[in-house]
């Protein structure tokens, strides 16, 4: 049995015309306990849909195939009762916008007790103690229990969301852009909290579009483009020996402090819609390295090193990648 969250050959397809179009295509990921895996990609790359599939929350119009296992237990195709037992208890999720993810009519405490008492046979006062402990772990005080969502700031609400997600001590936590709506100073604290949760044994899938966030807290990184993982591996290896032209493009397009008035290296073109994705490598229209072979069939994975894979016919050599830093 694989420990942690194992995603194998996951495909998520929607009806399109007479056939189907895959929003996510053959995605393989592994989140081990005590580890943060950063999943990076731009809008429309399929990363949020992958997160939803991990909790069995994909829309009914979506056809799911492949496998998602939480410490050995299969999510894909599981019945609603099994999923209810898993969600919150074994695998939990933090959503991007805490303001819309929480119910404005109920206090934070009320919403937390709902989750805790769903999974444990505790009375009200015991459950309240559990909720208070989780809030404290997330850096809030007990007073948050009696607050309504509108009475809290964005950063506090995101902490409350995290407290709710960790209240039942799940093995896996999925954080979908947890800091995108927050200021940088608050973001730094939320990232610190995620890191300490991982250090205590949780496996975390951190979804983000910000490479800086990944570099800051993740142990491993996977880059997603148009529904497939194009590069993945150990954080330091992927950043220092970037092999996929798209990953490198993302890094060069991100502005960093102290770069002055230098021109950014933009990637020309846009992410293709998954319904009209070109055959072969989906990135080839925007790629400077692309050749004829890129249009033919699926691109195989290549091992760059023991813990570093890339899906490209012409991966960038080590020397070029090193220029970045």
């Amino acid at each position: 049995m694989t420990q942690g969250l194992a995603i194998d050959n996951l495909a998520l397809e929607f009806a399109h015309g007479r056939g189907r179009a895959a929003a996510v295509n053959g995605c393989n990921l592994l989140v081990r306990p005590r580890e943060i895996l950063g999943l990076v990609g731009e809008s429309g790359s399929g990363k949020s849909l992958t997160a939803l599939a991990c909790l069995g929350l994909t829309p009914s119009s979506c056809r799911v195939s492949g496998s998602v296992r939480v410490n050995g237990d299969e999510i894909v195709g599981a019945c609603e009762a099994t999923l209810t037992n898993l969600r919150g208890r074994r695998i939990a999720m933090i959503f991007q916008n805490p303001m819309t993810a929480l119910n404005p009519y109920f206090t934070i405490g009320n919403q937390m007790l709902g989750v805790i008492r769903q999974h444990f046979s505790l009375d009200r006062s015991q459950a309240t103690q559990e909720a208070a402990a989780a809030l404290k772990q997330a850096g809030l005080t007990e007073t948050a229990l009696n607050r309504y969502p509108h009475q809290m700031s964005g950063g506090q609400l995101q902490r409350a969301m995290i407290a709710m997600a960790i209240a039942c001590k799940p093995e896996i936590l999925i954080a979908d852009e947890p800091t995108t709506a927050l200021d940088v100073t608050v973001q730094a604290r939320i990232l610190g909290l995620l890191r300490s949760l991982a250090d205590q044994g949780m496996g975390i899938l951190l979804i983000t579009h910000d490479l800086g966030v990944v570099a800051q807290v993740a142990d491993r990184v996977a880059v997603m483009y148009s529904g497939s993982i194009v590069e993945s591996g150990d954080l330091n290896q992927v950043f220092s020996a970037t092999a996929h032209p798209y990953s490198l493009g993302l890094m060069q397009a991100s502005p960093v402090m102290g770069m002055g008035r230098r021109k950014l290296q933009a990637i020309s073109g846009v992410v293709p819609d998954f319904r009209s994705r070109p055959a072969g490598c989906a990135f080839r229209d925007r790629c400077t390295q692309a050749q004829e072979v890129c249009a033919l069939g699926a691109t195989p994975y290549t091992e760059i090193s023991a813990d570093h894979q890339v899906r490209c016919h012409f991966p960038i050599g080590k020397s070029q990648g090193a220029e970045l830093t």
Binding site: E42, S153, A188, G192, G212, G249, I267
Partner: protein, 316 residues
């Protein structure tokens, strides 16, 4: 020799809102000047007043005190017809391009709209021609002219908004978080375009952003705002290399560093949201590690020098 007046001068503008618990001081005596060909960025967290500043300067909200001068003329105190005339002198680009464009007008009509307002005598074919050449200038081809905003991608739409902002040949463009709704690869395209337009058309930008890494790409000077007041200002490279206000330093340190292996030690203390209800003393003192006893009594004033700070105990 007479020097031409600066494209924008802001003199002690303030803005207050009445709230349930008291008065929110959204802007406290904001003063600055953008000289011809220079650009200025305002940075700060949500609720610091940077967007209010942009709105007050653009005349989209009335100021409660102080004056905004556009090219030397009083804009904030002007009559409606004068304001309309002065509005020609600046363009504005908002955060979300889709909501900034009229969804029922074609792209070229959206771009030509300022001409319809300010040049009512111009014939339609001329307007269309100008819109077309401006769209070409921002990198959009003829095939998009007849499209509706809903058919274009976010990056393309932001180019359309930019074309509209530039069609009256302004010298000043106000950019309110122009790239925060865009993906990073598209953001780079738009930033490069903004750089190129600034240099070829000799534009001045007033750039509102929460992303410090973007400041140096587009502007020369920076103002850091906290709770409605400027806490530090100066040339961007100097301020970022040697921040003097504890808040500026905290902002800079909070930015994730893209080089792995340099993972930071995080602090886990809870942050009070920005305090905007007026009281004596420095608004930042509760979050400040340098705060002394007198910080709760004396309101620090912004120094009058190139790299200025408003703090009783600046970092030396």
């Amino acid at each position: 020799m007479t020097t031409s007046p600066p494209p924008l001068r802001v003199d002690r503008i303030s803005k207050r809102y009445q709230a349930k618990h008291g008065t929110v001081h959204a802007l406290n005596d904001l003063s600055f000047e953008i000289r011809a060909g220079r650009s200025m960025a305002i940075v700060g967290e949500s609720g610091c007043g940077k967007t209010t500043a942009a709105y007050c300067i653009a005349g989209l909200q009335p100021v409660d005190g102080g004056t905004v001068y556009l090219a030397g003329e009083d804009f904030s105190g002007a009559s409606r017809s004068q304001q309309k005339r002065l509005r020609r002198d600046f363009g504005i680009v908002f955060q979300n391009p889709l909501s900034a464009l009229n969804p029922r007008m074609r792209i070229w009509q959206n771009v030509a709209e300022p001409l319809r307002v300010h040049e009512p005598d111009m014939v339609v074919s001329n307007r269309r021609q100008l819109a077309e050449s401006m769209l070409e200038r921002v990198g959009l081809g003829r095939q998009h002219l007849q499209a509706f905003p809903g058919e274009l991608s976010g990056g393309q739409l932001q180019r359309v908004v930019l074309a509209r902002a530039l069609i009256l040949n302004p010298k000043l463009v106000i950019l309110d978080e122009p790239t925060s709704a865009l993906d990073v690869s598209i953001q780079a395209q738009v930033l490069n375009l903004l750089q190129e337009l600034r240099d070829t058309l000799a534009l001045s930008y007033l750039f509102i952003t929460h992303n410090l890494a973007l400041v140096e790409v587009l502007t020369d000077d920076v103002m850091v705002m906290y709770a409605g007041s400027v806490v530090e200002s100066g040339p961007a490279d100097v301020v970022f290399a040697k921040p003097r206000h504890p808040y500026t330093r905290e902002l800079i340190q909070s930015i994730p560093d893209t080089s792995p292996g340099k993972q930071k030690v995080f602090r886990l203390i809870d942050v009070n949201p920005v305090q905007q209800f007026s009281g004596g003393g420095c608004a930042f003192r509760q979050r400040c590690m340098n705060a002394g006893a007198d910080c709760s009594e004396v309101v620090p004033r912004l120094e009058l020098q190139a790299h200025a700070v408003a703090c009783l105990y600046p970092i030396s």
